[in-house]
Symmetry: D3
Subunit: 239 residues, 6 copies
């Protein structure tokens, strides 16, 4: 039924490759099927001026897409002179998701910037970005801890994200682009490794959805996040 032949509750193949950007304090190439995002984590000592003097850290994110990540070329935002509303929405979501699992007092007055650049886009770039950004964030925090620059453990939990939607009447997990562009309802779930919600964003493109449908999507998402959490753990603690 799904164009890819997947089962409704089946995710795409997900891989998390650490250390892909050797200059960064943390990095991860995350793939959800053919969606590929290169995430780097940059550690900067000090925080933005509005945050100074409180002893608290800051975590933020930026998102971009290479022009030919998409089937037809997308205009380069740097050449257009501004970031689109969609880009800003996504990078704000990534930033909030990361901050939800960081103890800012333990981080101390350090800033971590997650840069998520989409090399290839086939649906789910924001959920892949969040899932990969956690891995890069964890490595950046390890880097800080190794240098004695934190006050205790800044990471309170892990965080990952997945999308679900109603495609041709059936609730399915981890929409790819052909599904996403046709789905009636599209929802993104950001959850912690311990199974709590950080963000939930559900949108009806055409037909509003019922509470029962939302419940079904949530159950799919919980299972998917469980898988992603296991993959994150495996990537960060290789055998």
């Amino acid at each position: 039924m799904r164009p890819s032949g997947r089962q409704p509750n089946q995710m795409r193949a997900v891989t998390l490759e650490r250390g892909i950007a050797p200059k960064a304090e943390g990095s991860c190439l995350v793939c959800f099927g053919s969606t590929r995002v290169l995430v780097t984590a940059t550690v900067e000592q000090g925080v933005p001026s509005w945050r100074r003097g409180q002893g608290l850290g800051w975590v933020t994110a930026e998102y971009g897409m290479l022009p030919r990540a998409t089937d037809t070329r997308t205009r380069r935002e740097a050449a257009q002179g501004k970031q689109s509303g969609r880009t800003q929405e996504i990078q704000r979501l990534i930033g909030r998701s990361m901050r939800a699992v960081v103890d800012m007092a333990a981080l101390g007055e350090n800033q971590i910037i997650l840069d998520c650049d989409v090399l290839e886009a086939d649906g789910g770039t924001r959920t892949a970005s969040i899932t990969g950004a956690y891995v890069a964030l964890a490595d950046a925090i390890t880097w800080l801890k190794a240098r004695g620059l934190t006050k205790g453990e800044p990471l309170r939990d892990s965080v990952a994200a997945v999308s679900c939607g109603i495609f041709r009447g059936t609730p399915v997990l981890d929409l790819d682009y052909p599904e996403d562009s046709e789905a009636d309802t599209d929802a993104n779930f950001v959850m912690t490794g311990s199974g709590r919600f950080v963000e939930i964003q559900g949108t009806a493109e055409q037909t509003p959805f019922s509470r029962a449908e939302l419940e079904t999507l949530m159950a799919l998402a919980e299972a998917g996040i469980g898988e992603l959490t296991a993959l994150q753990k495996a990537a960060l603690n290789p055998a």
Copy 2:
């Protein structure tokens, strides 16, 4: 328990004043307590170029805030030369919410622009905007129908929005600014008059929330949307 003395499931006083902007094809001054938003609906014959020739209409929204809608002055976006990410996120949400209840084929190649300008901000400006925008939209569609410019009834349902959150451990309905700035979890629900979901956006500011908590918020929202739907009907069909 709530700073305003309201019950957990009690909304602020909500008023919807139609016709406040006499030059517009539809308009509404919507108040959720002291949050006040002036919404106008502009009808333009024709649609943007990317939409032309399909026989379909378009509905979009823009959002702004007067500099002194807030306790301390907010810089004017026109003077800064760009709209913030928050502004773009909100206006995209309003536009999607309106489109979810409009039959674009029945609207025909006409465009309706909803302008939501916040005169005073005390929390919930996006939910008030959506609730008021529906009223202005309905009047603009009546204007079009009276001139024979539609093909049948473009309005498929009504739409309204409300926020809920967990404030000092208690789930509450319709957060005002003092609650919003302190709440652990903040969720916005956009629902149709028939009780289906158009958008759900839940965010954990600090502490991720459980599925049970989300269920409680949904129940609060459903009740709140019911009240708003009744107020919208009363405003559009005065005795």
Copy 3:
């Protein structure tokens, strides 16, 4: 003869409603007929960096128009990414007009920002803005004085503004939009309560005007300003 049926020397109904924006240190909803402008005065302690260390205050203004203040929708300047030349010209005029009646040494190193946002535009938005801004300014100064933040009385005089023009050959006072868009000559006068000129801007749209015509317009303006000054006094000193 005038589209509105007014006498040549007759102003529109003018109202000045103080305190309309409860969060601001001063505010005024000013109406010249159906032209309606919401003015807020914001007090900020400290002055811009180029002004610091001289013991002098600063007063400035910003102007905007809601998109549907006009008969057809005007594009939002924040969405266009810049303020038009007309907007900048008007806000510079409002700022200069206010500064002409303020003793900057008495104001001390405080800044007052007047935000003039046009809710409905029917001609004369700049003169209405100036007339209302004075009322908001006066309240903001009262607010400062009540807190002992000034050095003596910063207000040296009152200030108001009115337009005059030659409409179908006849000099008339306080042009509304139908007159303004057709008038040969359009002049704006900014005057103090004591009858002196702060600004005079006369423009011939088509036919240059003679000195005699200008004299006639001045006489009309002096009478109009007298009425506005009385209304300002009444608004600030209610019985």
Copy 4:
């Protein structure tokens, strides 16, 4: 009494050199003392899109200042990415002044752009620009007429501009920079060769001015404009 030793009613030496920019259809280097402005008039066949199909021409102006026209370097507007409010105000004034003496039907669907670039600034750059722009405009119109591209005579009158002000209590003509930066009142007059007003802009920097003072300034301006008109005639019709 004046820093330059001039009489109150004495203008600076004014020169108008035509043809200074050989590529342009009209050009003029205008000097008011050491204020020097290079004006070019560009003829473009066709008018902006909003003006098309009415059989009417259009005249507009742009203004700029070389960075080192001033005593200390002024930042280049192209490098800053926008034109200042002052620049826009001035170029709008120049454009309106030129349009006031052009018969747009006779001009036909042609556009003339006046570019006024200040090489050296010593006060009065806008009045010098207007005075020189008229000469460049007249040459551009001659160019059009020689090619049979007009319908009759587009020039209805000449136009020139001069400033006056109250300097240390005395009304004086044609303020230079030392006077301008100190004057209480500064007024710019744009008048036709036949002695009618196109624009009058009077501003009180500190002390509002009386009607009597304004009358005195007008008389000074009328005399000054008379001199400038004679110089324009001589430049355009050399012996």
Copy 5:
């Protein structure tokens, strides 16, 4: 003598991996040592409006750098709202270099856009970009030819680029970042496979260079380009 231990005339290891971006009509991941650039070639039917109707094609390029391609994070140009002068200079150079080997009449009214995005920067990003862009361009042209969209062979020659410089007094080939940041003279050579020059850009950072030194650099470059040309051929015609 060189920080990397290379001989003066020794290039870094260069690899050219085709087809890295499956959605693009041509693509190449080019590595000069640890400098890595992802190049995609996009084919668009039609040319920019200024080029239309001449039967000629167009080739252009854009360049960007991921924020953490560098040792410390570089601000994202899309977030800053403009491309730097350096970026524009480089992308103009890449575009000119490609156009020098394309027969625009044979290409027909098609446009090819080369996007060069630096994943990791260790000196020589512009020369690597040009060298890789040729490979992506060749594949895009093959794609066009396979669809019968060209008029004969658009590729007239191959093109590659390399830098040379005088490092601590010795002329060396293919500067890496430690060398580049210290070199007295830095020159970029763009040459065809047949050994002719397309671009030569030599710059003395501190000490101007003699003609003899330039000759030495040219000889180094000719040898380096020979190696790159062989690698390009091997990549495009794998055994």
Copy 6:
């Protein structure tokens, strides 16, 4: 053979007029035939923030073109809101060329800004700008030395620039606009008075050039720079 009738190795008439901008610390009107550029040198005490505290000076340049310097009007960059890639490329080149002959330690923490504004463009505006900028720079340094603000002699050499190209198969010196727009190869040479190279930029517009052709162009350039150096000396040391 050349449209101007010049010999292949013949430069246009070159003039260098010092002191043309009386407010600037140095200035020069440079003409290469009918190409005319007004250069001013501004001295500012202090250096940009990234340069502070090292005891070193800084020299930079900006470039602009009056709208009607060209045969058809070029849009004003200030009105467009950004500098073109071409403008940035040229001003970066001028800045680098000047810095190559300045001893920054001797200059001390002073900044010199060269503004090059093209009054009329007939090819070679960048080479004329560099040649004239050196004269303005030298006068600005004399100004600094006269005030005891340098540490020894900051000028290490003179610098000038000229273009060469292959026009209809013949190598020629100092291309004018008709030649430049048709030439196959265009090269700009920046050289010191002592005959060393500061910059060399050669570009093949259509046909790549051979090393032999480049050698011929270099020889032409060396002769041309010799003439320009003599003119600079004569301008700075008038008999």
